[in-house]
Symmetry: C2
Subunit: 410 residues, 2 copies
């Protein structure tokens, strides 16, 4: 007890001294953003010398700009107003529960909010985030860290003989894992431009799973988030290529060329998980799902290993496309290609417990997914379908994970 | 193989469409910084409309400014020059191998480099980082992710009965952990304002350990990085207090008041580790060390559990201070306080294999650590001492970890 008081005193004495030296600089004393009780959000930026300050974010009505290839929707923005002390602020209308992202523009320069250390990376862009939560089990609440038991999140290096690489994946093990056994496994795949850090950060996987499990809405499960770029060992900066700049197509540019596809090499991941974790090794305890490219991977994995996964989830999936075909020719491809027909026949002959397709009604991959559904309908292959508002965005993928996680292993 | 080609084609077709929607925005196409072959570094900032651009960082000579309490050293800065295309740049002199941190100032506003996604958080400040590495086993090389076997890094929730909390810590397990047994454990503690994310990010713990172990310079060991703020469950944003703004003294302000000190509650951490990991449970396989407040914690932990740790490391330690005493009265305190004398007598009666003190010659805690050494010398208590240039900064703490990790468990 005495020791503790001494250490606290030490701390209070030491703050000014250490602060000056330990932090390289302290960018601001402002608190921003502030989530107000009614769900509105106030942004503050303290800079008497600034000439203009605005905020851009996905909570503002989008703007339309002209580009050489036509009109394009971009992030909406709103001006902050300056008070007599040089503190700029802007308050939104009350926002629906959600995780939102934004940046500031100060004197014409786009930047992060210096008062907000909560940042997500999406490919090469950093953006500040905040969460609006207004009631238990609303989206904001599901994406928040609540006072519930928490699972562990690990960055795990596994061996991939197919790719002749050690590779890195993120593994969520649910609270109480130490004392349990025979867990089911959800394999959760990211999109193009992403990596094994995408779902845990942008997708709020651990928070969603902690909250669903604590509420009894999902069963305790392991969630495995591998890296879907088969010529990369790990996320940018996390393997020996150094701190390269991530780009949307970046992994494709890197040497060496991959030795196998994601679906070909996926067996390495399952083998590692099933030999290193306390899991049940049968189809009833395996689910695979993913977004965009990861939806395409999930489709290909299900096709390659029919009967291996009782649950398949395609989130805004970028599906297997004929090399010369556009996005809207997928039905023609399915009708013409014997190989894919045989594969899908095998998948559905094995009677998956749930084949689940979800997409937003303005997604640029909407037609392709409609084509798949048309083909499945014609064949009488059973699946379930969720259509939401919106496009090819994380806001939808978090919802799809939330929905799918409640449907599997039950 | 066909599938793979299709997916690649899909990707290349899809890039423009997804890019516009998946990334909320793309801040820049520039590549910055660029590490040149001679170890100089060039910063680029592409903005024809900018009026002034400068870079501030710990690789530039510090500047001295006047403050109400006297002259103070601050980060040095250098102006970027604009070329005819509106691309601004600045090239440093060749830099010594090191991990460096910086920000940009554009039109008078301090901000992160929009071309660099590699960011560290120190308390409430974000800063860009880069690494200069010029030869094998130089500091830059030790801090880089190299083509060597990698350990896993996990965020682990453990039970702390002393604090009546579930708490979060970071655990590094070395490459090959699955196949080994009887590992030694290094407990590595952060400073005030820090948390369980500080050593893994600012301290480059996993990289240093991977590289030292691969070179045969350190033995494979588990490194446990707990949260030293005993009224917090976890780092800011990672527990149910929400996305609050981290501050240097932040954890002290939070309710409830802690139920025990770090040293009192430390047994919970050791008990968890020794019951959940494949470790040897004896003093020869336990080391405790930490920086600043964490050095004070290590001192207090060693004092509370004499003979429990064969290795004790104090890095720029903020030591046990008499409540009313200043930083420079520690010797007087040691001479006057029977309790601390008894504790130190017990620690050294148990003959630790290594009691190691390290500090920079301009550290504001230099006198306090000199006072401890004077007292130990007078008592004839054996210890080793490393004095480096510089102050109370991560650059030193990474060096101390590198040195200490090579001295333990041998």
């Amino acid at each position: 007890m005495k020791t503790r008081i001494y250490l606290l005193s030490f701390l209070l004495l030491a703050i000014s001294g250490i602060q000056a030296q330990e932090s390289l600089w302290s960018l601001t004393d402002a608190e921003s953003p502030v989530i107000n009780k009614d769900g509105s959000v106030t942004f503050y930026y303290a800079d008497p010398a600034a000439e203009s300050v605005s905020v851009s974010g996905d909570f503002l009505p989008p703007a339309t700009i002209d580009t050489p290839s036509g009109k394009m929707e971009v992030q909406g923005s709103a001006a902050l107003a300056r008070d007599e002390n040089g503190v700029w602020s802007y308050t939104t209308a009350p926002l629906a529960p959600e995780l939102y992202a934004y940046t500031l523009t100060v004197n014409g320069v786009r930047m992060l909010d210096p008062a907000n250390v909560y940042v997500n990376r999406d490919v090469s862009s950093l953006m500040n985030i905040f969460i609006v939560s207004r009631a238990e089990n609303d989206k904001g609440d599901l994406y928040s860290v609540n006072d519930v038991p928490h699972g562990n999140v690990s960055k795990v290096w596994y061996d991939s003989p197919s790719l002749k690489m050690k590779r890195r994946m993120t593994v969520y093990t649910p609270a109480g894992y130490e004392d349990g056994k025979d867990y089911p496994v959800l394999y959760l795949l990211h999109g193009a431009g992403g990596d094994e850090d995408a779902w845990p950060t942008l997708g709020r996987t651990a928070q969603i799973m902690d909250n669903l499990i604590a509420a009894g809405k999902a069963v305790p499960m392991i969630v495995v988030m591998p890296n879907g770029n088969v010529n990369c060992e790990a996320a940018p900066g996390e393997w020996s290529k150094g701190m390269y700049k991530p780009t949307f197509e970046g992994s494709l540019k890197l040497d060496p060329k991959p030795l196998a596809s994601m679906d070909e090499s996926f067996k390495d991941i399952v083998e590692y998980v099933e030999s290193h974790y306390k899991v049940a090794k049968d189809r009833q305890h395996r689910a695979v799902c993913g977004l965009s490219m990861g939806g395409g991977h999930s489709f290909a994995i299900a096709n390659r290993y029919p009967g291996m996964f009782d649950y398949v989830g395609l989130f805004s999936a970028g599906l297997h496309i004929h090399e010369q075909a556009g996005f809207d020719k997928f039905y023609d491809f399915l009708k013409a290609d014997k190989d894919i027909q045989d594969k899908l026949a095998a998948v559905f002959a094995a009677k998956p417990a749930l084949y689940w397709i979800a997409i937003g009604n303005t997604d640029f991959l909407y037609q392709q997914n409609s084509d798949l559904r048309r083909f499945l309908d014609e064949k009488g292959y059973g699946y379930e379908y969720l259509e939401t508002d919106g496009g090819h965005i994380w806001r939808n993928w978090r919802v799809y994970l939330t929905e799918f996680a409640q449907r599997v292993f039950k």
